[in-house]
């Protein structure tokens, strides 16, 4: 019985650890969605590297979100942005293409994939500032 339990535990960690990408700065897998992660410079540097690889680091809205995180903002969209980019980056390093990594990360965050999904990942002030670069369905009311 103990052996079976250990095997199941090993299987669980093999799925949620390296395969999903490991982060040193916030809790693993689904716990991360429920606990407030520490926003660290290491995490932000990883996000910048990920956005740079996608050719999206100089995007104004992304820069504004990074700036908010560096200034200590921790509203839900700020944390969603941080978590989304870290998790998406880990999934792409594990071999997923962008589209699969993006959609799986949204699902992990409980955010439906659709025209309004950026409204949960970018702060409303940032969407207002760069409204022409967002689908109108994501514009704040």
């Amino acid at each position: 019985m103990t052996r079976l339990f250990l095997m199941l535990l090993t299987l669980l960690f093999s799925l949620s650890g390296p395969a999903m990408g490991e982060y040193s700065d916030f809790a693993h897998s689904s716990f991360a969605a429920k606990t407030l992660p520490n926003v660290t410079e290491k995490g932000l540097a990883r996000i910048e590297s990920h956005l740079g690889n996608l050719g999206a680091l100089d995007d104004g809205a992304n820069q504004a979100m990074l700036s908010r995180l560096r200034s200590g903002q921790t509203t839900t969209p700020d944390i969603n942005f941080y978590m989304h980019e870290l998790k998406e980056s880990a999934r792409m390093r594990a071999g997923l293409d962008y589209d699969a990594a993006h959609k799986a990360t949204l699902q992990w965050q409980g955010i439906p994939y659709g025209p309004a999904s950026p409204a949960q990942i970018y702060h409303p002030d940032v969407i207002r500032q760069f409204s022409t670069e967002f689908n109108p369905a994501a514009w704040p009311q």
């Binding site: 995007d59 942005f81 998406e88 962008y98 022409t132 689908n135």
Partner: protein, 137 residues
């Protein structure tokens, strides 16, 4: 000494300078398809560009209502003008632009994506009319 208002001077110059001439009608596509991290951009337009006596803009596409709902066509035209007015020595102002198609992604499309698609279409127009060197046989 009063500082020159360079922005006003630049605008006046752009509006008054002689136009370059479009030698023939050309149909071009313009595309914006870019991943931006937590979101993506997508827009595509199909434009017929013809010589004219002044700037004329026409919309002739099956999904006109959908494309106009959020001003996407206006943004596409502005994107074309961004390039038509500044890319070459003389602005290309005497041209009839008929937007014949607009491909809208319900999730990824936005106004700026259409502006980028317009810029891409204008660059493709200049590429299409650029004199080509014919290799000698």
């Amino acid at each position: 000494m009063a500082a020159m208002n360079y922005f006003e001077k630049w605008l006046t110059d752009l509006a008054q300078r002689q136009t370059m001439l479009l030698p023939k009608a050309v149909r071009v596509a313009g595309v914006r398809d870019k991943i931006l991290g937590p979101r993506s951009d997508y827009a595509k337009i199909d434009v017929l560009c013809e010589p004219a006596d002044s700037l004329e803009i026409k919309f002739d596409l099956p999904n006109l209502q959908e494309a106009q709902q959020h001003g996407y066509l206006d943004w596409a035209v502005m994107g074309m003008l961004d390039v038509l007015m500044t890319e070459n020595t003389y602005p290309l102002r005497n041209v009839r632009l008929t937007i014949k198609g607009a491909d809208i992604d319900s999730i990824k499309s936005n106004q700026m994506a259409f502006r980028h698609a317009g810029r891409n279409a204008a660059r493709n127009l200049f590429e299409a009319i650029r004199p080509k060197v014919i290799p000698s046989t």
